[in-house]
């Protein structure tokens, strides 16, 4: 009983505190001046209608390059932690007819949907990260349905490396043309798509970078799935 009373008094004190603190904030007023700046200038400065994407890829593109690097390190970490001399798929139960047929039927659609998500990053919610994750799901499906399936490792590793370099290359071209890393030369200098903001061919280099990120995330996550599903086998 005493415990309960103490708890109630304690809660009341905390509540009073919070109410007191929040009473000083004017209601309904924008506290984030930088947010308003983005909303006011996003179309003119980046050509994208999706302000979130414009911030992630354009205003904070360097940060996104860091995020891609974090993912790369995570994938490398999984690979290093699970590394063994000889690893193979050890699943024993073959997928049922429904699962295998459904997978072969859905696989192209899932990949296409992933591509749809990352190519429309500057117009709709989504972008390279969810698009890439969707593509990786397609490969997860194949792993689940076919007990001997493995991704084409060589091709995936090469693609991953090439698109990773392509991201940096896009940044360096910006550095050469505009004077700083990840300068959006397609929008700022070429004015490509300036007359049709909101359609597919707009948004400067956002679709290009999101395509790069989508492919990179897709191949990387597929690699992680591959690492996690394989087990060590004795020779």
């Amino acid at each position: 009983m005493l415990k309960r009373a103490l708890a109630i008094i304690f809660l009341l004190i905390i509540g009073y505190w919070l109410a007191q603190g929040l009473a000083g904030v004017p209601f309904g007023e924008d506290r984030m001046l930088v947010g308003q700046y983005y909303l006011d200038h996003v179309k003119g400065q980046t050509g994208a209608v999706n302000a979130v994407t414009a911030i992630v890829v354009n205003y904070r593109g360097f940060d996104t390059l860091g995020e891609v690097t974090v993912l790369f390190i995570a994938s490398t970490g999984v690979g290093a932690l699970l590394w063994r001399k000889k690893r193979e798929r050890t699943a024993k139960t073959e997928g049922s007819m429904v699962l295998t047929t459904g997978t072969t039927l859905l696989f192209p659609f899932v990949v296409l949907f992933g591509a749809y998500i990352f190519i429309h990053g500057h117009l709709t919610p989504g972008g390279g990260f969810p698009g890439g994750a969707t593509i990786a799901t397609a490969f997860l499906l194949l792993y689940m349905a076919f007990i001997t399936y493995e991704i084409p490792h060589k091709a995936f590793e090469k693609t991953e490396g090439i698109v990773g370099m392509a991201y940096v290359l896009v940044g360096l071209i910006g550095l050469a043309i505009g004077g700083y890393f990840l300068y959006d030369w397609i929008w700022q200098d070429w004015k490509l798509g300036a007359d049709n903001i909101g359609r597919l061919l707009s948004g400067g280099f956002i679709p290009i970078i999101y395509t790069i990120i989508g492919i990179k995330v897709g191949t990387e996550l597929s690699g992680i799935i591959d690492n996690m599903l394989k087990e060590e086998v004795s020779e």
Binding site: S96, M97, V98, T101, G102, T104, L105, F107, P108, F109, V111, L112, F113, A115, Y116, I119, N196, R199, L200, L201
Partner: protein
């Protein structure tokens, strides 16, 4: 049916993917169409080998017509099955007689079998538990006939007359 040529399978995949793209974007903007075509060509090149074995033969007008006709037919079957199950649930005496029956299908194509299994599961009252070759094991809320022929006549045949044309 043997395996169709690579070109036919590739083109079929491109066409299907492009149709899906049209549904996804819901737009006839030439920019969207161009990108949809490019992406369909790329994705199809990567995936056509596992996607289809019949290729363009799937787009035979008769098959497409049956596939389009199957949609309202299936929806009607689903509505009737829904009402039937609702009646059984609401009836005070609860007139159910559940059990697992075996059905035999005439379908040969794997995709056709998948469509049949999903059609059976989607209509309330029947659930496909397992498929083994041409045998379907189905849980039925009201077992009217537990012989293989009788159950097949009740459950699989109404769908099969469409599916065997669509999937061959």
């Amino acid at each position: 049916m043997g395996e169709a040529s690579k070109i036919s399978r590739y083109l079929y995949t491109v066409i299907v993917l492009f149709l899906i793209w049209l549904f996804l974007t819901a737009s006839l903007d030439p920019q969207e169409l161009a990108f949809g075509l490019i992406l369909s060509l790329i994705v199809a090149a990567l995936t056509y080998e596992i996607f289809t074995t019949n290729g363009l033969a799937n787009l035979h007008p008769r098959r497409v017509a049956y596939a389009i006709a199957y949609v309202p037919y299936f929806l009607w079957a689903m509505i009737m099955a829904n009402l039937d199950v609702a009646y059984r649930v609401l009836h005070p005496k609860r007139p159910i007689n559940p059990g697992i029956v075996e059905c035999k299908t005439v379908l040969k194509n794997e995709v056709g079998k998948l469509a049949l299994a999903n059609s059976i599961t989607l209509t309330p009252g029947t659930i496909t538990l397992d498929i083994d070759g041409d045998k379907y094991f189905i849980h039925w809320i009201d077992v009217k006939d537990d012989s293989v022929e009788g159950a097949s006549k009740n459950i699989t045949e109404p769908f099969e007359k469409f599916l065997k044309v669509i999937f061959g």
